[in-house]
């Protein structure tokens, strides 16, 4: 259990891995905006987004199949959305049975949009460790200090949560085993029975979490913790040339898509055929 890596982080020493987490988060957001900007049916726009993903993946040294794997978890959602579009769209001309050309295009459009967004998001988590992500979010939230948002406390909570997730997974595993050894059965029975069977796991877990919290608080106090006042920060994030490159690339993507939308508007199957 201990050795299962948490999250989907894929450690490597690449251009993308070395980028500043703040820049990566912003770029990921900008990329998602770009995906949403692609106007209806504009498959060239999607092609541009896809190339962006493929290029980033190549530079990041994350194997392509690892990136594609992330799509697997949402495949049901994608298929469901596509089916809705296929069967419940009355616009356009009927191509086959109740399926119209607009329905077909909408379904393809939805699939492309969801997949591209998931691919982008997973690239972010594959190339950025949870710790870096938390630091990045903290860095981006920093300006909120001016409206009295407790950025430091928020960041500390994130960091401690990340730190304790593996510990609690281990602990849960241990308690489950101990109760199984006493004949507890977590696998059979209906949903209510199973939920009830979890009580002997949840209560010890809760109690131990309180104990851990108490001890952690003592340890933090012992190390002179007194909130964010007069605190310095050891870790310093620096924007570099790499981050600038990333920002330029995503800016280029957005400009390209806006340009395509404006000058190469494509709205029907016939037009797509023409464009190809």
């Amino acid at each position: 259990m201990k050795d299962v890596s948490f999250g989907s982080y894929f450690p490597a020493d690449s251009f993308v891995h070395k980028m500043d987490a703040r820049a990566k988060i912003l770029i990921a957001i900008a990329y998602m905006v770009a995906v949403f900007l692609v106007s209806a049916f504009h498959f060239l726009g999607f092609a541009a987004c896809l190339s962006f993903v493929i290029l980033t993946t190549a530079v990041s040294r994350v194997p392509f199949f690892r990136v594609l794997k992330s799509v697997r978890t949402i495949i049901f959602f994608v298929v469901f959305s596509a089916i809705l579009q296929l069967f419940f769209n009355s616009k356009g001309t009927v191509v086959f049975w109740v399926i119209t050309d607009v329905g077909l295009l909408n379904a393809a459009f939805i699939i492309a949009r969801i997949m591209l967004i998931v691919l982008g998001a997973s690239l972010l988590t594959l190339t950025t460790s949870p710790v870096e992500l938390a630091d990045g979010i903290e860095g981006l939230l920093y300006p909120l200090k001016w409206i009295k948002f407790p950025v430091h406390e928020f960041a500390l909570i994130m960091s401690i949560a990340l730190r304790f997730i593996p510990t609690l997974i281990d602990e849960t595993d241990r308690i489950i085993k101990a109760q199984k050894a006493r004949g507890a059965d977590f696998e059979s029975g209906n949903i209510f029975k199973r939920a009830k069977a979890l009580i002997p796991v949840l209560i010890p877990l809760l109690i131990s979490s309180f104990r851990r919290a108490d001890e952690l608080a003592d340890a933090m106090d012992s190390r002179c913790y007194a909130g964010s006042k007069n605190r310095t920060k050891y870790k310093k994030m620096r924007l570099s040339f790499r981050d600038l490159m990333g920002v330029l690339a995503v800016a280029g993507l957005i400009v390209g898509i806006v340009f395509l939308n404006k000058f190469y508007a494509i709205n029907t199957l016939a037009q797509i055929a023409g464009a190809l």
């Binding site: 190390r223 002179c224 007194a226 007069n230 310095t232 050891y234 870790k235």
Partner: protein, 271 residues
């Protein structure tokens, strides 16, 4: 002048019976003091009083001139009296070793470059320099506990309190901590170790035995562990070498009374 002085210290949780009663002792620079006692004897309460995690009901702890009764001095005391607890998992706050060690100095507002140097020094002191960027999750219990010690050393304490810090470790981990303690003592840091392991207490300069909040016995390890009757009454045991020596003496073998280590036992047989 002692680095840390405990004067007539008492403490009770709420209105219940006193957990620590009228305890006094002093710790010199570079001195190694062991505190033993059965579970519930008040050892951990005493530990928490030493760095201001608890406020004494009466009496005081004086560290380097700062009194525990001076509310403004609590951070001065905590800076000087570092504390390492039992469960290494519950005292590391960051997912990367250097970030965790930085936590203390960051709290004190130490400038960034200086924090970097302190991380270096602290990791060197616990022999884990190459683990600076490591994730604590992947380390052994002994290594985690050494990181916890490093996190405290980064505050540059004069006294290190180990509150049963070896209780959850395997023999390998305990050896690692013993080696770190030895180094710290050499560099002039005083160590107060609360422990159930008599073979750890044997190495101390001074042993205090706590019972129901009172110092029931104190002295050098030899003095304390030779007193079998008193130890029995307090629910404690002699070190194993002492038990064997006693067994021999009971059967008429004429060997000295204050044997507590293997070497001493062998030495006595060979005189």
């Amino acid at each position: 002048m002692p680095v840390l002085e405990v004067k007539n210290l008492s403490f009770s949780y709420g209105k219940s019976q006193k957990a620590v009663k009228n305890v006094s002792f002093a710790v010199e620079k570079g001195e190694f003091v062991a505190i033993i006692g059965h579970n519930g004897s008040g050892k951990s309460t005493l530990a928490k009083l030493l760095n201001g995690l608890l406020k004494p009901t009466s009496g005081e702890v004086v560290v380097d001139g700062f009194s525990s009764n001076d509310a403004g001095a609590v951070f001065e005391i905590r800076k000087r009296v570092g504390m390492v607890f039992q469960n290494p998992d519950n005292q590391l706050i960051a997912s990367i070793v250097e970030d965790d060690i930085a936590f203390g100095p960051e709290n004190l507002g130490v400038p960034r470059e200086e924090i970097g140097r302190r991380i270096d020094d602290a990791l060197k002191a616990v022999g884990m320099k190459e683990f600076r960027k490591a994730t604590p999750e992947r380390l052994s219990g002994g290594q985690k506990q050494r990181i916890a010690i490093a996190g405290v050393l980064a505050l540059k304490p004069q006294v290190l309190v180990l509150d049963e810090s070896t209780a959850m470790l395997d023999p390998q981990g305990r050896k690692e901590i013993a080696a770190v303690v030895e180094n710290l003592l050499k560099s002039g840091v005083s160590v107060i170790a609360i422990t159930h392991y008599m073979d750890e207490a044997v190495k101390a300069d001074k042993v205090l035995v706590l019972d129901r909040g009172v110092v029931a016995l104190s002295g050098t390890p030899k003095e304390v562990f030779a007193n079998k009757a008193a130890l029995d009454a307090l629910g404690l045991e002699q070190p194993l070498a002492g038990i064997i020596a006693d067994g021999l003496r009971e059967r008429g073998v004429n060997i000295p009374e204050n044997i507590i280590t293997e070497e001493e036992l062998l030495g006595a047989l060979w005189k």
